[in-house]
């Protein structure tokens, strides 16, 4: 149930942001700081999500098979391989490492 609340709040917030852009006078959002923050937020949030999702189990820091998956994904991204290939390679690598080292 609480997941539905999170979904509802998130969807409403995201929609209102989209609508605000089309609706508010330009001067309200047309500020350098607003632009900088909007451009920087994806960078910091994505970097944090990568780090937390790879190196933690939610409560504590761990290094496991996911790190190998991310390393392979990094190479694939660097080589500019297609998105789905990047994601698939990370998953397959992680699954293989788990097969080899069951504890990871």
């Amino acid at each position: 149930m609480t997941i539905w609340i999170g979904i509802a709040v998130g969807c409403l917030g995201c929609y209102l942001l989209k609508l605000a852009g089309l609706s508010v006078p330009k001067s309200v959002l047309e500020r350098p700081a607003v632009h900088r923050i909007a451009a920087l937020l994806p960078v910091v949030l994505l970097a944090a999500l990568i780090a937390v999702q790879t190196f933690s189990d939610g409560r504590s820091l761990v290094i496991d098979a996911r790190a190998a998956g991310l390393a392979v994904a990094a190479v694939a991204v660097w080589r500019r391989w297609p998105f789905l290939l990047v994601v698939a390679l990370a998953a397959v690598t992680t699954a293989l490492v788990r097969q080899l080292i069951p504890a990871s």
Partner: protein
């Protein structure tokens, strides 16, 4: 720098085609171009983006299921939130065991850039009333990238609606396919699907890392988040990283270190809005 929609015209996934030969590849979108040719070009670009995005949605559907959402919740996100990075952000926080509201906050912060896209698009679309309420939902990376930078408002509007509606359709179909497919799996973790999400984030992040400052900021944000994991509730580390971004953005910059305008960097901000990549 950004290539913009005009730069994508000669980089359609299928390469040179009869139409692109007619108009010449060096300057795909000249102002005197016949509208029918322009329309064909715009629609083809939009289609390519929509197909690539639909494929990407399959991975979203599967990852959402692996993260603990059910099929209906996953479908609701694609239908109602409809902005990829935010959707991934929300399921990532929930998958890690974080509070759903922390997930919502992450999603909303990731969606802040859409408001700035709207600023650009408002002048082009000039919509009001119910039409504006509908158009707002289509304001995403892809529709903005395929709209701004066109030579005429007419072509820009076509790019926006064709891409927005095309991506909306295929994004939701792709989500359905991925979610239903993953719901048949007994243990998504055995397939390594929990590592698919960070890989997806990496693919989203990489094109944004332009210049040393952004690299440094990304590393600081990652460090802050990781160090905070044992100290604060699940989901909060990512929000702390968001705070780092806000603080960094509030520091006034001078000289050459201009802030990247999100609307200028979107052409490669998400892998699915790069028509140069093969839609698979």
């Amino acid at each position: 720098m950004t290539t913009g929609p005009e730069g994508t015209g000669d980089a359609t996934p299928d390469g040179p085609t009869p139409d692109s030969t007619i108009q010449g590849n060096s300057n795909p979108d000249p102002p005197d171009l016949d509208w029918r040719l322009t329309r064909t070009q715009v629609l083809r670009d939009s289609m390519g983006v929509a197909i690539a995005t639909g494929a990407y949605a399959i991975s979203f559907g599967a990852i959402a299921l692996a993260g603990g959402l059910n099929v209906w919740q996953t479908l609701a996100l694609s239908l109602l939130m409809f902005t990829g990075a935010s959707q991934f952000g929300l399921i990532a926080v929930i998958a890690g065991g974080g509070a759903p509201l922390a997930g919502a906050a992450t999603a909303i912060m990731l969606g802040a850039r859409n408001a700035l896209y709207g600023l650009r698009l408002a002048e082009i679309l000039r919509v009001s009333g119910l039409r504006r309420l509908g158009a707002a939902q289509l304001v995403i990376d892809e529709s903005t990238a395929m709209s701004i930078g066109r030579d005429t408002d007419r072509a820009a509007r076509l790019g926006f609606y064709a891409t927005g509606l095309g991506v909306f359709t295929l994004w939701n179909i792709g989500t359905l396919v991925g979610a239903v497919g993953a719901s048949w799996l007994a243990d998504p973790r055995a397939l390594g699907l929990d590592a698919a999400a960070p890989a997806a984030f990496l693919a989203l992040l990489a094109p944004r890392l332009r210049g040393r400052e952004l690299w440094a900021l990304a590393l600081v944000a990652a460090m802050v988040a990781v160090l905070a994991v044992p100290l604060v509730p699940v989901g909060v580390p990512v929000l702390l990283a968001g705070l780092v971004g806000v603080i960094a953005g509030l520091i006034p910059r001078k000289g050459t270190t201009q802030a990247p305008d999100p609307a200028e960097s979107i052409d490669s901000s998400e892998p699915d809005d790069q028509p140069t990549r093969e839609p698979s």
